[in-house]
Symmetry: C2
Subunit: 216 residues, 2 copies
DNA sequence: GCTACCATACCGACAAGTCGGTATGGTAAA
DNA sequence: TTTACCATACCGACTTGTCGGTATGGTAGC
């Protein structure tokens, strides 16, 4: 194998190991040697590729931002014609991720943000941007769904923020409980909320008001 | 002042400082000397009162569980006659907490759980229990509200879990954003959801169905 | 032989925890 | 009331282990 290729592999392994270990142990508690062991490389190799521990954390955050962006952008749920179906597909997608150990579906960006928000570490703004990116991504679907049921897209950002909020909160509760059960329950509630808010209404919500026309 | 009293004061100061520093810097990143500085006591005094750093973290978790339990149990929002009003009062109470620096309204239990869930540190089960306690507390109100609108209380736990999920997620987003704005937006959405799910319905939801009786 | 890559031994800063000692106030016999 | 005694609380220099980071040397492809 060409040296260049081998180097890229080691680098990628270290980044992947960093995200895995940090999601399990937390960002600060992640030791370089833990990461090296998980990646199957030596410390010498580590410091060949990264200037410091923080440098790896930063690279991992950038990779996380990139990879999650691609993962969600290329997923199947983006394809249905009805915006609400795309959103519900997104929820189903998130639900399907909640299997196995909690560490494997935890969010590196959320973990980093929670531990570094009051510092000036360079990893913080990147992790924060990864979360903001994802909210923006969801907002395209919520905006379309709002349009689709005759509402202005004004609330798209708020709804998307709420979706991301639910995901992040669900992960905390999964960590508190030790498994995905509460997280799944939260996604159920979220789905209920979205269906109610984004189902095309005929006229208005008030059940006391008689409807005077036929369903299409 | 009697020595006993002075000792209690120092101990309490250390516990309070631990929760403050840990909510800002994270559990693992909190150094004993930081806590001592924040509490205005010396390291010698610290080790007189606590066997180890972890011992303080544990004591702080127990205190958090106790104090938050009391705080919410004794709050005004528990008093209105209609269960839904109590729940909305709870949301308003949470909203009112979201002022000042994020560290001051962050959740010590959530922080600890996120950083220690994969360890066997004794602080983890206590922090986890604090969260579980709070869900149980909310569940009394959601159960009553469900009853009040003619639904079985089966979903009370799921709804309460969702409420707690929203709170925890909102705190993560506040840390990501740097202020409470997204957290407030999430509470707005949550309130909408609760109002919709827990407003006593006359007959059913379907707007196409004419209502045949008067409002009380 | 030059360079990218990796391995191992090592260094030193930093923070947890120790320990000998001091200060303060309560208690009780003389 | 005085004094001896003791318990609690506190202080801070010191020890010790950990872990990020460095130095140095080795190997393999070009």
């Amino acid at each position: 194998m060409a040296p260049r290729e081998q180097g890229e592999i080691s680098r990628a392994k270290l980044i992947a190991a960093m995200t895995d270990v940090a999601r399990e142990k937390g960002y600060h508690a992640t030791r370089i040697e833990d990461v090296c062991a998980a990646a199957g490389v030596t410390k010498g190799s580590f410091f060949h590729h990264f200037a410091s521990r923080e440098d790896l954390g930063l690279a991992a955050a950038e990779a996380w931002r990139q990879n999650t962006g691609t993962l969600f952008a290329e997923a199947e749920f983006n394809h249905p014609a009805r915006p609400l179906d795309r959103l519900l597909g997104y929820i189903a997608f998130r639900r399907a991720m909640l299997t196995g150990p909690v560490a494997l579906y935890a969010c590196y960006a959320g973990t980093v943000v929670a531990e570094t928000y009051a510092t000036d570490l360079p990893v913080y703004p990147v992790a924060s941007a990864a979360i903001a990116d994802h909210i923006t991504f969801i907002a395209r679907h919520t905006a379309a769904a709002l349009q689709d049921c005759g509402q202005p897209p004004t609330r798209a950002h708020a709804l998307s923020t709420f979706i991301q909020c639910t995901i992040q909160g669900a992960l905390i509760l999964a960590k508190a409980e030790g498994d995905a059960t509460p997280a799944l329950a939260c996604l159920d509630e979220l789905e209920r909320h979205l269906k109610h808010e984004l189902t095309p209404k005929r006229r208005n919500h008030d059940p006391r008001q008689a409807v005077l026309f036929e369903e299409p």
